[in-house]
């Protein structure tokens, strides 16, 4: 089950061209998967520019390609400077620890976007963060 060489070449080219590149299900404006939506949320919170590729139109072929390139079969996948950083859980952990801001060369946001506990203790009903589901 070797990956399609043409697709692989194209993917490698895209990873090389974009300092920050997200492979996701859906688009940043209309994510089609909760994990992809969370990574978009992290990147938006950090205010970085990034390229996004919707994997859904070619899910299985792209899975084969990223397995060969990065030994990683699931999406979302965030690449920074040509290297796979991780999927949703790694990206969120690295946001919380400040490592992601360092890696991207941006300021750590004041408050992490996902802080359900602090919303609870601050009291009073609050509007949920805006969600872009198309």
């Amino acid at each position: 089950m070797a990956a399609d060489p043409q697709l692989k070449e194209k993917v490698e080219q895209l990873i090389g061209e974009h300092p920050v590149l997200l492979f996701m299900k859906g688009t940043p404006d209309a994510p089609r998967c909760g994990f992809s939506m969370r990574v978009v949320g992290v990147l938006d919170a950090l205010g970085v520019e990034y390229g996004a590729i919707d994997v859904l139109p070619a899910l299985q072929p792209l899975r084969e390609v990223t397995t060969e390139i990065s030994d990683w079969p699931t999406f979302p996948q965030l690449y920074v400077n040509g290297e796979l950083v991780g999927g949703c859980d790694i990206v969120e952990e690295m946001l919380d620890s400040g490592e992601l801001a360092d890696l991207l060369g941006v300021e750590q946001p004041e408050a992490p976007p996902e802080a359900p506990d602090s919303r609870l203790v601050e009291g009073g009903p609050q509007q949920s963060p805006p969600m872009s589901l198309g």
């Binding site: 990683w72 079969p73 790694i90």
Partner: protein
């Protein structure tokens, strides 16, 4: 449907000395593994996660696991 105990043992065998907890996050095939392993020292998170995934690859391949989220750390 994955056997959580088996998954835990597979990770323990691949990473001797690791402390491993495997939880069902839904449906029996979306799992979460909390792994503290000395082997993680000096590795990037993605490489730490790769080690955990590699340990249970067979169960991905046969479809018992659909998704695995990993929380990795180096023990104190």
């Amino acid at each position: 449907m994955a056997d959580l105990d088996e998954i835990r043992r597979m990770i323990e065998v691949a990473l001797p000395g690791a402390e491993v907890e495997v939880l069902d996050e839904g449906g029996g095939d979306h799992l979460r593994a909390v792994v503290a392993a000395p082997q993680f020292e000096g590795l990037s998170r993605i490489d730490q996660h790769r080690l955990v995934r590699a340990a249970v690859k067979e169960r991905f391949d046969d479809g018992s696991i659909h998704a695995l989220s990993v929380k990795s750390s180096v023990p104190d």
